[in-house]
């Protein structure tokens, strides 16, 4: 048998609760330490995602956000503290991540993702997590990941509600298969509100999906949209299908260049 696992004694201890899991084990932990995950947005969803991925020992975690920490973020964006106000979110979060786990290489990107830069960045990673706060970026992440063939987790939250799906490009339904185009005049959390803990509920589901994808544990949330309403605590898994006429992952895609569609 090939012995690929070379965890140090300290790592055996740090990750002992992962190693105990039959579905993860020392080999799964080694995979995590060799993996690269990009988290788009360092806000409500990005905070729990980046902290849990870092704690789990994902070898490289990239975080993307152009914003600075605002006092209204602190009700839910748990990577940031009161003394981080006006700091770049990626710098604030990177500091917490590095303190949490020195095994992890944290790569902060202080920028807005757009059609000109996203492809080059995501190709560095094995898995992408969308924790952005607007439809333009959510559709951009979907299209860029589908075109580059990089698996990702879509996530969205609003008020008491959350939704997420995992996409394996070319194999399972993508965000556009169901949602097609960004809606006109969308309502975001800054206008509609968001219960703080809902961001944690949804973000940790996405982080779990990333860990499952890397280790191969369990079955992924593909061809389904998981939605929940924290007001009633009803969770529902809606089956989704890939659409042959999907504009980006269908048989005759109309979106073949990010620059053209998102430029």
């Amino acid at each position: 048998m090939v012995q690929m696992v070379q965890l140090t004694d300290k790592q055996q201890e740090r990750y002992s609760r992962h190693i105990l899991l039959q579905e993860v084990g020392a080999e799964g932990q080694e995979k995590l330490l060799n993996a690269k995950v990009l988290v788009v947005g360092t806000g409500g969803l990005g905070s729990p995602n980046s902290l849990y991925l870092t704690a789990a020992g994902v070898g490289t975690v990239g975080i993307v956000d152009a914003d600075v920490v605002d006092v209204s973020n602190l009700q839910r964006q748990i990577a940031h503290s009161t003394n981080d106000l006006d700091r770049a979110k990626v710098e604030s979060a990177a500091e917490k991540m590095r303190a949490l786990n020195p095994d992890v290489e944290v790569r902060p990107y202080r920028l807005y993702l757009d059609a000109s830069n996203i492809d080059e960045i995501i190709r560095e990673y094995d898995f992408v997590i969308d924790g952005s706060d607007n439809f333009a970026t959510k559709f951009l992440v979907n299209d860029a990941c589908v075109l580059a063939g990089i698996p990702f987790s879509h996530g969205g939250i609003l008020r008491f509600n959350g939704q997420t799906m995992t996409v394996l490009p070319g194999q399972t339904a993508c965000y556009r298969c169901s949602f097609r185009e960004p809606p006109p005049n969308p309502v975001g959390c800054s206008r509609a509100g968001i219960l703080g803990a809902v961001a944690g509920m949804l973000g940790t589901i996405q982080a779990a999906e990333a860990l499952k994808f890397i280790t191969g544990a369990g079955t992924l949330l593909t061809d389904a949209l998981l939605t929940f309403d924290a007001a009633t605590m009803n969770f529902r898994r809606v089956p989704l299908k890939r659409r042959s006429d999907c504009p980006v992952c269908g048989e005759n895609p109309t979106i073949s260049s990010l620059e053209e569609h998102h430029g």
Binding site: G44, F135, R180, V187, A199, V238
Partner: protein, 69 residues
Amino acid sequence: MEIRLNGESRFIDQVTKMSVAGLLEMEQVASPEMVAVQLNGEIVDRGTYHNTMIVDRNEVDFLYFMAGG
């Protein structure tokens, strides 16, 4: 007719069919543009809401757009 709406049984009195547009109105969906409608597992094209009919035992899901993160 009886349909399943968002996973729950819903009895709609005195009709045997209803358009997707009619159901959105009956359910008082305030912003239909923030919903993708799935009928028996297939997404309904937005331009066909008035012509697409829901009948007895159909399954309808409203998938809400959520921008927040």
